[in-house]
Amino acid sequence: MKKILLACCVAVLVAGCGTKGGTQKAPIEQHDVLEPQKQQQQADEAAKQARIQQEQAELKRQLDEQKRKQEEAARQAEAEKPEVKPLPATSMSEKALADPATLLKEPGSPLSKRSVYYDFDAFNIKVEFQPMVEAHAKFLLEHKDFKVRIEGNCDERGSREYNLALGQRRADSVKRAMTLLGVPAKQIETVSFGSEKPKALGHDEEAWAENRRSDIVYPGVDTPQQ
């Protein structure tokens, strides 16, 4: 609602500026050659108009900036919501029925988990991550309008190109596990970032372990729709 109001404000400001300039210019034009005083006044007026227009452009820029910040804040608030929300009595809360995306953010549910971790140079899904992958497969089966993007990642060691291929294998192995459970392939997109987009920036085993990972991403739920 706030966003709409702000947008209106900007629209009015811009529109107002247009009409004002237009109506004042027309009559002056007939006299300015005859009366030097008025000519000066007109020049002053034009300068003033230019200043006002500049100020309004600046104001619009500030408003846009503010709007962007507010949207950013709203997005952040949205992302943080599950942490401040009280636990619902059942996992099938009223809201969840209305919006399946809520299921994906239910704290403690396997669906709220998104990452599969791997051993070095491995792409097999370890036993402890299978229930989570299965839960996402079940969700996708039940919600055909949802899509996922599986992003494969590797640690920084070794070859960037080999890691790019390995990251693809990691993402594809998650996709394969899901399609074997019946999820249509068209609901799943895979991408490899190899070792190019490390989540942990260190150069030690802890960082490496965090970066050997496939992320199950729901575009529009986890990230803005692309």
Binding site: G158, Y162, Q168, D172, V191, H203, Q226
Partner: protein, 416 residues
């Protein structure tokens, strides 16, 4: 986001020589007459080039004045007694049309003769280029191998908020980025004629191979199939590239025309095949594959036949790169948790580890085969380094950028 010709001082490289080869040739390069009127002094650039190669010992100039710039002024015995068989003299003079004449002579102090001498007419911005050319001529005359001082290199600089693909002179000067984006750029590869660079960009949030024309700044998509598009390597004829694609499942090696057409599959394995490297004669390819259970280096014919495993030592051998003479290949070998640059002689199958760093990657031969440029991580930062193919000469190349990586050494063609 395509940026052309924009210089970025922040990514300027600095090269520091760590080791020196044995049997260094003593040489004296005297200041060229009138060179100090100009921003770049010819004799300094020539001396730095020769010293950086590790094959010369630059002699002190001493205190005798005036210094000679013409053969008639040279006291050969004096310079011979100072320990230099070779003396380089020259001059810089501005002509009436604003152009600059650079003259240089290489003299033999024992035989008291001129070995060679040239005069060049240049415009001011070519001052460093002509100095590199002079260094190349001296290098070739004294070692019998072509010099690579006039070549260019490409590398990726990781800035705080973006990645930049840079092209610079081989000594790190004149660095300019040809592409900048917040998403990663990897695997730059020079075309054999030096006019184009293929690379992998993630600008569309996935790996896509582009071919970038350095002459006019245009670029085009080479491969954007489903899955990964990566590891471009030009065939020696410049008409095709070997490339790794996962469009048919797992990453496999394909040939593709330089215009993106004519995709032909070369490998058919149930494993990762990537990092193709053409032999200089174009008849065979080295590549990385984990078909044997761990990533190892294999060789096959350019038609994809006669696959042969090349590495057996250790469980991780990757990133093969043929040497320019085709007699050896550089690669990265894991040994006791360290990833180090190594070289294998194809005739003897002997492997030599060339570095003592632990996170090496992306080896790139100089076009004369003498040095290998590579990336490493030292103190948490990406650096470039170079080592001679016999392991004796070492250079560390640092940049003021946060990280530099993915070096590629341009060809000799077009630079001489």
């Amino acid at each position: 986001m395509l940026c052309l010709g924009a210089a970025s001082a922040r990514a300027q490289l600095t090269i520091e020589i760590i080791g020196g080869g044995a049997d260094q040739l003593p040489i004296t390069v005297l200041p060229f007459a009138s060179e100090d009127k100009y921003q770049h002094r010819i004799s300094e650039v020539v001396s730095a080039d020769l010293a950086r190669s590790g094959r010369f010992r630059l002699q002190e100039i001493g205190s005798v004045r005036p210094l000679p710039s013409e053969p008639a002024e040279v006291n050969y015995r004096y310079w011979k007694n100072r320990g230099s068989q070779t003396l380089v003299i020259g001059s810089v003079a501005e002509r009436s049309d604003g152009k600059v004449e650079v003259r240089f002579r290489m003299l033999d102090t024992s035989k008291e003769v001129q070995v060679l001498g040239y005069a060049y007419t240049i415009v001011l911005p070519q001052m460093r280029a002509i100095a590199h050319k002079i260094a190349d001529i001296i290098y070739e005359k004294l070692t019998g191998e072509p010099g690579v001082f006039s070549t260019r290199i490409a590398y990726v600089a990781k800035m705080p908020r973006r990645f930049e693909l840079h092209v610079s002179d081989a000594d790190g000067f004149n660095s300019q980025f040809i592409l900048a984006h917040r998403e990663p750029i990897i695997s730059p590869a020079w075309s054999p004629d030096g006019t184009r660079i293929a690379y992998v960009s993630f600008e569309q949030r996935r790996s896509i191979v582009f071919v970038h024309n350095l002459v006019d700044g245009t670029r085009r998509v080479l491969a954007a199939f489903d899955g990964i598009n990566s590891a471009p390597c030009w065939a020696p004829d410049g008409k095709r590239l070997a490339i790794a694609l996962s469009k048919d499942g797992i990453s496999q090696i394909y040939l593709i025309d330089a215009d993106g057409g004519g995709v032909t599959r070369l490998t058919t394995s149930n494993a990762i095949d990537t990092e193709p490297s053409f032999s200089p004669d174009g008849k065979s390819l080295l590549f990385t594959s984990d078909r044997g259970g761990s990533p190892q280096i294999y060789r096959m014919s350019a038609a994809g036949n006669n696959v042969e495993r090349m590495t057996f030592e250790g469980s991780y051998n990757v990133t093969p790169r043929y040497s320019p003479d085709g007699k050896a290949f550089a690669f990265i070998q894991r040994n006791q948790g360290r990833y180090r640059l190594a070289i294998m002689d194809l005739a003897t199958r002997q492997t030599q580890i060339l570095t003592d760093t632990s996170l090496d990657g992306s080896p790139a031969f100089a076009p004369n085969g003498r040095m290998i440029l590579y990336a490493s991580i030292v103190g948490g930062h990406g650096i470039l380094a170079a080592v001679s193919s016999d392991g004796r000469i070492k250079q560390k190349i640092t940049a003021s950028a946060q990280d530099v990586r993915e070096p590629a050494w341009g060809p000799l063609v077009g630079s001489r």
